[in-house]
């Protein structure tokens, strides 16, 4: 059951990255693939109805972490105090940029929010990557399982590398979205951007895969559960897909999603059973076995959470289909 809880949490965070990932990616690249106010309006409108629902995956995952692994929630949020506060402020800037842009028909008003959207999105991707990098590398927990995440410790080369990979990978994902969902010039420019970005993503992925073996070796998990090798394999197939399927936007976006899903699954498979490994020794960290609520609580909550997510998935898919059909129908 505890393994199910780990998987549910990983799936929620993964869904967040796949969905809000394209919003952040669109933010990161939109100034590069648009030339006019109308093009930027169209690009932003392509995520308009979805971004807020996508962001809820982060909030729901946070709530689920709180409910199922309170100690991990308490330790990681307080340990990463300042970075998390910066994330909050960036989420605010990103949110108001998207929501308030359209309320004033002034180009200056739009320019302010377009740049805000771009800077906030890129920095959010960077910080999320740095956070993931530090979680994989481990943090120095004390006897009460708390730690103090100073910037000097958190901004280590490995974590910063993961942060840069996150910016690039999400920019690629965002470009794939623009190529798929926006018509005309921005889509063409996004397709060209994909050709430039994917080789850089490939380089970073290879370098960080090598580095991951140095900071938190996946070998023990790989030997115990050889099937988890499917995750990096899926990731490789995804990136290859982005490279060769450029002319088919729907498949490019699917390939980019597969790449991200594979990367995150690889990270989760490396981490298991830890949610917050110790540093320098992973064993001093918080694992799903040491940090969870009693089995009876899990038995109550897991079905509630899983049924809830299934309902959300159903109406989210229904709504996306209706909006899609409607906007095509009136085109």
């Amino acid at each position: 059951m505890i393994v199910v809880a780990f998987i549910v949490l990983a799936l929620m965070l993964g869904t967040y990255v796949l969905l809000d990932g394209y919003d952040l990616g669109v933010g990161t690249i939109h100034l590069f693939v648009t030339r006019t106010d109308a093009e930027r309006a169209a690009t932003i409108a392509s995520i308009g109805p979805f971004w807020n629902g996508n962001e809820v995956w982060l909030i729901a995952a946070g709530g689920t972490l709180f409910g199922l692994f309170p100690l991990v929630y308490a330790s990681s949020f307080s340990g990463f105090y300042l970075p998390f506060m910066v994330v909050l402020w960036l989420l605010m800037f990103r949110g108001i940029a998207l929501e308030l842009r359209g309320h004033y028909a002034s180009e200056l008003w739009h320019q302010f929010f377009d740049v805000t959207f771009a800077v906030a999105s890129a920095l959010l991707a960077l910080l999320f990557g740095v956070a993931l990098g530090n979680v994989v590398r481990g943090v120095p927990l004390d006897a009460q399982h708390y730690f103090k995440g100073t910037f000097a410790f958190l901004l280590n080369p490995y974590a910063v590398g993961v942060g840069l990979l996150a910016v690039l990978a999400l920019a690629m994902h965002g470009a794939a979205w623009v190529a798929l969902r926006v018509e005309g010039a921005p889509a063409e420019r996004a397709a060209r951007a994909l050709r430039i970005v994917w080789p850089i993503v490939l380089l970073f992925t290879l370098a960080l895969t090598y580095a991951t073996f140095r900071v938190h070796s996946p070998w023990p998990n790989l030997l115990a559960m050889p099937w988890i090798a499917l995750a990096p394999l899926a990731s490789a197939v995804g990136l290859l897909g982005v490279a060769v399927l450029r002319e088919q936007p729907r498949r490019t976006f699917a390939a980019s999603s597969l790449f991200l899903a594979g990367l995150l699954a690889s990270a989760a498979a490396t981490l298991f059973p830890y949610l917050l490994p110790g540093f320098p020794v992973a064993e001093h960290g918080l694992s799903v076995y040491t940090a969870t609520v009693p089995p009876a609580t899990l038995a109550t909550m897991l079905p509630v959470i899983i049924i809830g997510i299934a309902i959300v998935g159903a109406y989210r898919a229904f709504v996306a289909g209706r909006l899609d059909r409607g906007s095509r129908g009136s085109a």
């Binding site: 309006a41 169209a42 932003i44 409108a45 392509s46 308009g48 109805p49 807020n52 629902g53 962001e55 909030i59 729901a60 946070g62 709530g63 689920t64 709180f66 409910g67 199922l68 309170p70 100690l71 929630y73 308490a74 990681s76 949020f77 307080s78 105090y81 300042l82 998390f84 506060m85 909050l88 402020w89 605010m92 949110g95 108001i96 929501e99 308030l100 309320h103 004033y104 708390y146 730690f147 103090k148 018509e183 609520v293 009693p294 009876a296 609580t297 109550t300 509630v304 809830g308 997510i309 309902i311 959300v312 109406y315 989210r316 909006l323 059909r325 409607g326 906007s327 009136s330 085109a331």
Partner: protein, 450 residues
Amino acid sequence: MGAALTADRIQFAFTIMFHYLFPIGTMGLAPFVAWYTLRALRTQDALYDRAARFWARIFAVNFAIGVVTGIPMEFQFGTNWALFSERTGAVVGQPLAMEGIFAFFLESVFLGVFLYGRNAVSRRLHAASAILVWLGSWLSGFLIVVVDAWMQHPVGYALASDGHILLTNLGAVLLSPFAWWQFLHALTGAVLTGGFLMAGVGAYYLLARRQERYGRLFLYTGIVVAFAFSVFAIFPTGDRNGDDVTAYQPAKLAAMEGLFHSQMGAPLAIIGMPDTASQTLIDPIAVPDLLSFLAYGNFRANVQGISTYPVADRPPVAVTYYAYHIMVGLGTIFLGLTTLALVLWRLGWLERSRWLLWLLMLAMPFPYIANEAGWVTTEVGRQPWIVYGVMRTSDAASANVVGAEAIFTIVGFVGMYFLLGLLFILLVLREIGIGPDAQHAGPQLAEVAP
């Protein structure tokens, strides 16, 4: 530790009080948006359609600021109140997880359909979206009040030997009568605010002699709802909340009423200044015996005063007392004002009574103050406990976050929220200035796709 605790409390109080201004608007306006949308669908009358769009635009700004200021509330449980989260997470984490999964998704996904999908989806689905957004906003309110109500009156839990709190009965937590009455009272406050906003904007249009058809519509919808919920705020919801405080939190009751010494036939203070140093209510105007009657249904009943509790267990009297009296005073004024408006309406004099339209327009901020004052009463009156009788606030803050860090982030939040507040006021005033009759509906999917 002391400096950190103070800074953590200031930050939470500031961010929650700022944030709560927006859920009031969301929960209070959602039913009006849904109602006008349904009327438009039924009657095919452009008046209702324009009215629905107008309030939806204001709702959207309100929702956007509410969302971005809401995320820090969930984060702060972990960042600033780690020991609270660690000990109580098995209980408190569940309604929070459910709020994300069952309420926030519903609200945000269908608001996307409602705002962007006007031309893309069928009118029935569009109207259904308005109702689902309404449902989501109220459900979210319920689940967060469940958390607060559990902190006020913990149920369905067990205390483990290591001090951790275990969940024994999720149903008891979700169905706690304490939580339901608290939720209904908070919700009443929100809908009352929505009613006053409708009436106030309507009064403005009538006073300014523009958009008068809409002004009339908003005014009449507003005063009917504001009157009904002014009554509902006092009885039964306010009354039942009072009963719960009397039964489970007598120290809070004493602080609310400024009653320092236990008394048979305790008076109800209408006005007076509580002075903790001398343990007296200075210069009071009070109704003899009334507090005993309201609390226990007996004019001679004994009501416990603050002085009967150990100093370490007393809530801050002045803040609790003033917040409570501001709420009750304003609630009484709301009832009087809306009753007067209804009477003048029946007599056919309402639109000629410009003085009353002025009062209704100027009344708009006050329901917000009453809502905030109610929450200050509830939360400050709960002190020194974070979980009533179980865990003290002083034991709940993160041990690994120091005061200097929290002060730094308070400064950041103050700056950020100043900007958000300015943007909100600017955009809402602009929408009111443009008015419902204008042809502008915000961004649309179908306009975007070529």
